[in-house]
Amino acid sequence: MERIPILKMGPFLLVTIQIDLYDRLALTLENDLINMVSQTGARGVLIDISTVSIVDSFMGRILGNIASMSRIMDAETVVVGMQPAVAITLVELGLTLQGVYTALNVEKGMELLNNKLGDNLELDDEEEEDQDDRND
């Protein structure tokens, strides 16, 4: 069966979508990504759609599902490289990619994820400190 490869890069997963996804392939990707987030404990998912020419409501829903399921497992999702024509069209279609961050390119997407990760680590630290205080 045809599959879209998922790369692991440190704490992140990277997917490059290079063909127009037909439905079954999109659903397989959704499943594969979610499994991989849970197996690897990845903290972020980057989805590069720079060569995708059409995002319709189906595809939008897949992206939204990936983001919300990843979030449950403590990973953020960033969609990178959306073509301007696609972005304009999505607005008119009325589709908001809820829970999905967007960035210009993979590099910026990584930056965003790293910042998120940094923020979360700080938060974790603070929580621990709070606990220490309580113990004192």
Binding site: R24, I54, R61, L93
Partner: protein
């Protein structure tokens, strides 16, 4: 109105969607439609064929290059013989779905193209016709 090119495609399974979208893109490229307008038209078309597959187990699409008052555009006619739509006004509303979905397809498609017409008789089927001009107006 003059019809310059005409083609028909049967849409019966999910795998027919991508070739259909490519065909619409070919038509758009042929008349020199800009990328943004092609993207809008193809996205609308994608929503409409998905509905055809989901609610009417398929149908056919007529693709035409048309010319009217010195304007060139593409007309797509989506015909199915499914259950039809009882309340068209309701179906056209943002967020209305009998398929537990976003209910964006019909109203979104309407926003994306220059002309949108939906005719449906319960029990007989649904026909949606859209026109998008080369320059998007």
């Amino acid at each position: 109105m003059i019809v310059m090119t005409k083609d028909t495609m049967e849409i019966v399974r999910e795998q027919d969607v991508v070739p259909f979208r490519n065909r619409v893109r070919e038509f758009g490229t042929r008349i020199g439609m800009s990328l943004v307008n092609q993207t809008k038209l193809i996205t609308a078309a994608s929503e409409l064929v998905r509905n055809m597959l989901k609610y009417a187990s398929g149908g056919k699409v007529i693709l035409e290059v048309i010319s009217l008052n010195a304007k060139t555009g593409i007309r797509l006619t989506f015909k199915d013989e499914g259950p039809g739509i009882a309340d068209i006004a309701l179906a056209m509303r943002d967020g209305f779905s009998t398929g537990r979905s976003l209910g964006l397809g019909l109203p979104g498609a309407k926003r994306l193209v220059n002309e949108f017409d939906l005719k449906s008789n319960p029990g007989e089927g649904t026909t949606v016709t859209v026109i998008h001009w080369k320059h998007g107006r």
